[in-house]
């Protein structure tokens, strides 16, 4: 096991970042102009980084697969963004946000990173407000906050139910400004399909122009991956259809270690699956649990009757209902953290008490709230959500309880990065949801937006100088360099392979099958036996994919089906790694629940053996990956059992 150097600066927790900034190397303005940086992904992390780097004077090339940087999946975030502003004077502080994040992550995140995140969170709000992000305000004209995701302070800033959209549009505006000024060249509808490394350093990418199919070679003195999460490995998730792991996976194959791939967040309040045709799952905001009560019938018979349609929710008497979250977690009740609420739902459904035809769904009931507050108050409080639910399901949650079930939502795992956000490949950085960094084994609500923007606006622009200062003598490498040619050829060969199979099964077919395996064996409850089985199934699936997939159309044209095929191929390989990681981690922590590791029905962490980050090194598609461990040292926080009882 080789050593992983996380490069955490010396000194007191509170001073590490300041100290780092004061001592990091700088690049002078004249030299910045000569340095080119590739930014793949223009979500919150990518757009903020690209804009900031361009403002600083670097030459930036940005890439995204959508038709515009404004459409990255960050746009879908509803709830809000945390910041330790303490505007509400309720005792919040940087330390408290830091502590909550570490605890929420079930003590599997790096102290120094999380503290820095909490620290810069305040600057994010300032920056975004200055950009014209229309955050919610109070009558006095100052910013409003709400409490979110079971924290005891109100630190969540929001812009109606469109916080992610507004933050992204702010960052997008900043990016477009730099594009207009000529400091950023934007490549929309481009997908990174290969990383180019020269002498161990990231030097560029191969990107497929999605309209013409051309494989383009792009040089950069450094490469940033800001390509989002990989929740779509489960096929059904709350992610956008195009969200993928391809860029990160290609980097992984070129030497970037993958950190904690098995950590997946499963969000408890999503609309249940209704049929095989379903393409994605829709998140219903967590805030619904503030007033909604989660329940299923006490008996299987009642549940069965509801599933069959012979009984309705209203027919079940109060005494025959099991408000299981309130029963099991009296102090947090319906507001317990996401991972816990999700598992509890699975449990009751596995017992046969689910209330939708598939068996996988529970009630989220607003009738008490309606009785207590009146229908108008409830309606006003959840203004956009109820109509949205009704539009999708054709049922009115004011009249009959909502039906919900957990769904894959966020991936805490990602490329391993050090304190500077550099991966194990020199000059290759990873930001936002694509890296593994700050959320440990479970992410708190409203913290992903914070992390993406922290990385892009306030962390990377400082840390990258430390690397680039030594690169100023490197002239732009012409893209006819053998490394570029080789990378392009390998991408081409792979594409042609895919096209030449001309099998019988569609790409979605494989994707759905992979999703089912992942959900069944690497979802909310994982066992050694199941994971072992799953690994075999995935390997078989991979072989079948490469011999029986059918990709229509041509390579040299706009061909979304081909793009999908490439992504699914990578998901299959990633799926195997997730299973391996889940099997290795024989403990339960955060979103990762090993059935073998529990105590009194609750997840049991094993700090003695697993207080580390699992960083996996790629050794070949057929070969076992190699595990590298980064010990997690807690110097400021005492490890404790996370209890919400």
């Amino acid at each position: 096991m080789s050593e992983l150097n996380s490069k955490i600066p010396e000194g007191q927790l509170q001073e590490k970042w300041q100290h780092y900034k004061e001592h990091a190397k700088l690049v002078n303005p004249a030299n910045k102009r000569k340095l080119e940086i590739i930014v793949v992904g223009t979500g919150l992390a990518g757009a903020s980084a690209a804009a900031t780097l361009a403002e600083q004077g670097y030459k930036v090339k940005a890439f995204c697969f959508q038709d515009s940087p404004r459409r990255a999946h960050s746009i879908a975030a509803q709830g809000g963004i945390n910041a330790a502003k303490n505007y509400k004077n309720d005792g919040d502080s940087v330390y408290r946000l830091f502590y909550d994040t570490i605890k929420g992550g079930d003590f599997r995140a790096r102290e120094a990173n999380v503290y820095r995140l909490a620290d810069v969170s305040r600057n994010i709000i300032d920056q975004c407000t200055a950009q014209g992000v229309p955050f919610a305000r109070e009558y006095g004209g100052l910013l409003d906050n709400r409490s979110f995701g079971g924290t005891q302070v109100s630190r969540t800033f929001y812009a109606r139910g469109q916080t992610g959209q507004q933050l992204l549009l702010g960052a997008y505006g900043a990016l477009e400004r730099q594009i207009g000024l000529g400091n950023v060249t934007m490549h929309s509808r481009h997908e990174m399909v290969e990383l180019v490394t020269i002498e161990g350093k990231a030097r560029g990418i191969i990107a497929r122009n999605l309209i013409t199919g051309e494989l383009e070679k792009h040089f950069g003195h450094a490469v940033l991956l800001c390509t989002g999460g990989y929740g779509n490995v489960f096929f059904l998730s709350t992610n956008a259809m195009g969200s993928n792991v391809t860029a990160a996976w290609k980097a992984h194959k070129q030497g970037a270690y993958f950190g904690n791939p098995c950590y997946t967040q499963i969000h408890p309040t999503c609309i249940p699956v209704t049929g095989d045709y379903q393409s994605k799952l829709t998140l219903m905001s967590e805030s619904l649990r503030n007033d909604g009560r989660v329940w299923v019938p006490k008996t299987k018979e009642d549940s069965e009757a509801i599933r069959k349609g012979t009984k309705k929710a209203e027919d079940i008497k109060e005494a025959d209902r099991d408000y299981y979250l309130e029963r099991k977690y009296p102090s947090f009740g319906n507001l317990c953290p996401r991972d816990i609420a999700s598992r509890a739902a699975k449990e009751v459904c596995d017992e046969g008490r689910g209330i939708v035809p598939s068996g996988f769904g529970v009630f989220l009931d607003f009738s008490d709230a309606i009785n207590r507050l009146g229908i108008d108050v409830v309606k006003a409080r959840y203004g956009e959500l109820f109509p949205m639910y009704q539009n999708i399901t054709n049922e009115d949650p004011l009249k009959t309880p909502m039906k919900i079930y957990p769904a894959v939502h966020y991936t805490m795992g990602g490329l391993w990065v050090d304190y500077e956000l550099m991966t194990t490949v020199k000059g290759l950085y990873c930001l936002g949801e694509a890296n593994f960094s700050d959320h440990g084994a479970n992410r708190l609500g409203a913290s992903a937006l914070m992390q993406g923007l922290a990385d892009g606006y306030f962390v990377l622009p400082y840390t990258i100088g430390n690397y680039l200062a030594d690169e100023i003598f490197v002239k732009p490498i012409p893209t006819d360099h053998p490394a570029f040619v080789e990378a392009a050829n390998s991408a081409k060969e792979r594409s042609e392979n895919l096209m030449s199979i001309k099998g019988k099964r569609t790409v979605d077919d494989f994707h759905k099958q992979l999703g089912k395996i992942m959900w069944e064996y690497c979802g909310m409850a994982r066992t050694a036996e199941g994971l072992t089985k799953a690994r075999k199934m995935i390997q078989e699936l991979r072989n079948e994919f490469w011999s029986d997939v059918r990709v229509p159309g041509e390579l040299n044209e706009f061909n979304p089906e081909f793009d999908k095929a490439g992504r699914v191929a990578d998901f299959i390989e990633l799926g195997e790694l997730m299973v391996i990681d889940a099997l290795n981690r024989n403990e339960s922590c955060g979103g990762h629940f090993r059935v073998e590791s529990q105590e009194g029905g609750e997840a049991k962490r094993d700090d003695e053996n697993y207080a580390y980050v699992a960083a996996w090194e790629f050794k070949g598609v057929e070969a076992d990956p190699v595990l590298h461990k980064e010990e997690l040292k807690y110097e400021n926080i005492k490890l404790a059992v996370r209890s919400y009882k």
Binding site: A51, Q66, D67, S68, P69, R70, R71, H73, I75, A76, Y87, D126, Q127, T129, A130, Q131, G132, P134, F135, A136, R137, E138, Y139, G141, L142, L143, A159, Q162, Q165, Q166, G173, A174, E176, R177, I179, G180, A240, M241, G275, Y277, Q278, S279, K280, T282, L283, M388, N391, I392, T393, N394, Y457, T506, D508, D509, R550, P552, E557, F558, N559, E561
Partner: protein, 248 residues
Amino acid sequence: MKFYLKVWRQKSDKVAGKLVDYTIDNINADMSFLEMIDVLNDDLIRKGEDPIAFDHDCREGICGMCSMYINGRAHGPHHAATTCQLYMRTFRDGDTIYVEPWRAKAFPAIKDLTVDRSAFDRIIARGGFVSVNTGQAQDANNIAVEKASAEKAMDAAACIGCGACVAACPNSAAMLFVSAKISQLALLPQGGPERTLRALGMIDQMDKEGFGNCTNIGACEAECPKEIKLTNIARMNREFLKATIVEE
């Protein structure tokens, strides 16, 4: 449910397109429109035909990627909804459904139902922002903003850049989109210092892209999935007046 589809097929912008007939059966009423197209595509692929290319991503009405002109309406018959938020229960069994791309000179065709909307990005690049570099900002609460203005700014900021306004407008005008951004930033003190430049720049680019001219027909407002109001266009006109007549 069974449907008769007439879908616009066009290999690329270099060749002409045409409507092609498809019949599709066994459609579940709870499917979204895009899921129905997924099913059709799955079918086409199995039959060895080219699937229909269309833009989509979030499938929950926020990314602005989906863009179909369904039965003569931008995003289909639903009010205040995107294509991905349209469900098959809206139609009657046996309906004939026309599916076309957004049509405008400024949105050149790419393939089938996919068009190039990068003109919107270029308009934003001419002023759809506040010029504040990272790290320059003062404390967020140093400037108080009247709640009513903030709410109106948010109303305008809700635009998802889908282009339905252009598609629905008989003149292919982009004024609703452009005015939404100009309004958002005009309503907030943070956008104040750049008002003149912003209005002139964005409108100039809008014209260069070849969008049509507003005649206040209001189809854009009626079809906008985010209910952006015509009031914004009036506000943009005022901003423009101020910039050209009042400012030095």
